[in-house]
């Protein structure tokens, strides 16, 4: 496993803390067009994900890994389909724990 460039688990609120850094998050796809993919973060923020999308169609929930551009956009390098059902609550809590008291367990 390549740990040279770790991505931080973020939701909408945490994204602003890591602008310029490599992040990962799961969004619910709202809309997809030439400008990028608009999605809803697990804490109900609206985020825009740019970058070359994969050839296969996106499912309802997608994980993106890339560089945080601003407090509401990400330049994605990697897209992974997470299917059509996803527990956003669990993921949101994960982001909070991974950046809070269990930060030391995550790179």
């Amino acid at each position: 496993m390549d740990t040279s460039n770790p991505a931080v688990f973020v939701n909408g609120a945490l994204l602003r803390m890591y602008v310029g850094r490599r992040v990962r998050t799961v969004i619910q796809v709202i809309q997809s067009d030439s400008g990028g993919v608009t999605g809803k973060s697990t804490d109900d923020h609206q985020l825009v994900v740019k970058g070359s999308q994969p050839t296969i169609p996106l499912t309802n929930f997608v994980e993106v890994i890339g560089i945080a551009d601003s407090d509401r956009s990400i330049r994605a390098e990697m897209w992974t389909n997470f299917g059509n059902t996803f527990d956003t609550n669990n993921y949101n809590q994960l982001c909070q724990l991974a950046n809070g008291e269990y930060k030391h367990l995550f790179i």
Partner: protein, 623 residues
């Protein structure tokens, strides 16, 4: 000079074990008794008529014995000596480096009469060596009465009796190094502990193949709060039973440790202690005593499920909600009437549980609780048995202790929670909706969740009634060469036997059938993060996991390519599952073995599991 022993000569010797050779020694004359050659030196018992001590004449003095100067029953004046300890026993021995003969063999052994008060020996009825006191001493002389029945004791015994319960400050220059209980182990024997007796059991008599005996045990707690159980048998039990008193503090050394027998364990310690007649138990002086804090290990009310019908005793803390009046219950075993009172407590898990108090706790303490119930006090209870009445119930036992509004952090936290939100919220009884035999998998897969090690670490679990848990794990192995199924009646699923002629006979249906079905019955190895265990699995559950019926698997087995059968079994492994299991005891070759049986199996719902884990995390964080 009278040819006689110096009174209290032995005491003088013992009190000055390493005298300066230049200092003027007092006159010390002793009688030599039991003189005999041991190896290349002579050993004897030095006696002053009252006490004796083992003595050694170094080899340079052997000639004195051989020549007949030093004789048995003779008197010698000790001019230079050393007193040493015998390492493994609590005895001392005297090395006589220089002496002169005072008298040859006397007619008999000198024994003095003793008035008990003068000598100050404390007589206790349970003392091993009984001393019959006689009339007072007459003058400075010594009466020799052959018919005397006084037992001469070794100096060590007298000193020990005199010292018995006295403060250790009387000990000469021996600074006592006290070891914390947590540091004790079976491989290091040189320790002294300072402990309070927090529980004392009754003396019990027993009879086994080796004979009869008596035994009792005590629970010891040191200043750190660590606890250990100490057991004494026979001689040691008689010796220490009266000495150990509840609430008093003792210095103890020369006990032995061994790994605790989980079946009988009552305190949290990997080890248990044994004291024998050579162990030392000394009461601590008033300045040195301490009161151990009651050490609690609270279980939240909604976590009690995993302890139901188990042998572990739990501690709980909660806000008092209600107190029942005293009831009188007839005890089944002896038809006695026993007072009982039920109280209800609630905690931050928003669950309530009923605790049954008995005897004194019901009458006296119960009344105290009734008087303050309106103030919603915090109640902490130690050592409760967990039962399954109405789902989950708690019951006090002999050793249970109840504290009202204890001064501990958990109590303050609970009060704060109650005052801010608990007061208003509706609480549910913890047992509601829980039935041990619930087959509907969903709810029960998330209740009483434990790890495999929780089950395997208690071999006596499920001894009285089966205990139920839920588990999340992987099947790590299904042995391909085990008998995996039995022939079953197509109608009633019971095992069939070979019928008359061809076909199969079902005893239950009382009929013969040409065909039977195969039904799974197997043991599989399940692993989780804590360990592994072998679990019995029957048809329904096995079919769910293997993915085909036993009949179909049998067909695969008999196929030419062996592989498909092995592959099918392998594919079952390392898939996570939720299991509902029962734990019971089962005799096999006269041995009691734990048996874990799968009652239900379900695939893991990852979202629900994650939620469960997140709940556990937040619970841990707030503890």
């Amino acid at each position: 000079m009278a040819k006689t022993v110096t009174p209290d000569a032995i005491s003088i010797l013992l009190s000055n074990p390493s005298p300066d050779s230049s200092s003027n020694l007092p006159e010390i004359v002793v009688q030599v008794l039991d003189l005999k050659l041991t190896g290349n030196r002579y050993m004897f018992n030095a006696s002053d008529g009252k006490l004796t001590v083992r003595g050694i004449l170094p080899s340079n003095l052997s000639s004195e014995v051989i020549s007949g100067n030093i004789q048995n029953k003779g008197l010698i004046r000790i001019l230079d000596y050393t007193v040493n300890d015998i390492p493994t026993k609590s005895e001392k021995y005297l090395i006589v480096t220089k002496c002169e003969v005072v008298a040859p063999a006397l007619e008999m052994e000198i024994k003095s009469e003793v008035k008990s008060e003068e000598v100050g020996i404390i007589l206790k009825p349970k003392q091993e060596n009984e001393m019959k006191s006689e009339v007072k001493r007459e003058g400075a002389g010594i009466l020799v009465k052959p018919k005397q029945e006084i037992v001469t004791k070794s100096a060590a015994q007298i000193v020990h009796e005199q010292r018995g319960n006295m403060a250790p400050s009387a000990r000469l220059a021996m600074t006592r190094r006290v070891h914390p209980l947590v540091s004790l182990n079976p491989y290091q024997g040189n320790w002294t502990i300072k402990v309070s007796v927090t529980s004392k059991g009754n003396m019990r008599t027993y009879k086994n193949a080796r004979g009869e005996g008596c035994v009792f045990n005590v629970e010891l707690t040191d200043e750190d709060g660590t606890q250990i159980q100490a057991t004494m048998f026979n001689e040691a039990a008689r010796k220490f039973y009266d000495r150990f008193q509840l609430g008093k503090v003792y210095y103890i050394s020369r006990g032995t440790l061994r790994v605790a027998n989980k079946q009988f364990k009552t305190v949290q310690n990997d080890y248990e202690m044994n004291l024998n007649e050579n162990s030392e138990v000394e009461e601590a002086s008033n300045e040195e005593t301490f009161i151990p804090e009651t050490k609690f290990n609270f279980v939240q009310i909604d976590e009690l499920g995993r302890y139901v019908n188990g042998s572990d005793l739990v501690d709980v803390i909660g806000v008092l909600q209600s107190v029942s009046p005293t009831m009188s219950i007839r005890r089944k075993s002896n038809n006695e009437m026993v007072p009982k009172r039920d109280i209800t407590v609630a905690d931050e898990t928003k669950r309530t549980v009923v605790v049954s108090l008995w005897n004194d706790l019901a009458t006296n303490l119960g009344q105290e609780l009734l008087d303050v119930v309106d103030q919603s006090p915090v109640v902490a209870i130690k050592s409760l048995k967990v039962g399954d009445f109405q789902g989950i119930s708690l019951s006090a036992v002999g050793r249970s202790t109840v504290l009202i509004n204890p001064d501990i952090p958990e109590s303050k936290k609970l009060k704060a929670w109650f005052d801010s939100e608990g007061k208003g919220t509706s609480m549910a009884p913890v047992g509601s909706g829980l039935s041990p035999s619930t087959k509907t998998g969903v709810r029960s897969m998330y209740s009483d969740r434990v790890t495999l090690s929780h089950i395997t670490s208690d071999p006596s679990m499920g001894e009285e009634k089966p205990v139920y848990f839920s588990i999340r794990g992987f099947i790590s192995l299904i042995k391909p060469d085990q008998t995996m199924w039995y022939r079953a009646c197509k109608t009633c699923n019971k095992k069939v036997t070979d019928g008359m002629g061809s076909g199969y006979w079902c005893e239950g249906c009382q009929k013969n059938d040409d065909e039977c079905s195969l039904r799974y019955i197997m043991v599989v190895r399940v692993s989780d993060e804590s360990g592994e265990a072998w679990i019995s699995v029957f048809n329904n559950e096995a079919e769910k996991m293997i993915g085909c019926s036993a009949d179909e698997l049998d067909k695969l087995k008999s196929q030419m390519e062996e592989n498909s059968y092995q592959m099918k079994l392998k594919e079952v492994t390392w898939v996570p599952y939720l299991f509902r299991v029962s734990v019971t005891q089962h005799e096999y070759n006269n041995e009691k073995r734990q048996r874990i049986t799968a009652r239900d199996v379900a695939p893991v719902d990852f979202a629900a599991e994650s939620k469960l884990l997140l709940e556990e995390l937040t619970k841990k964080a707030s503890q």
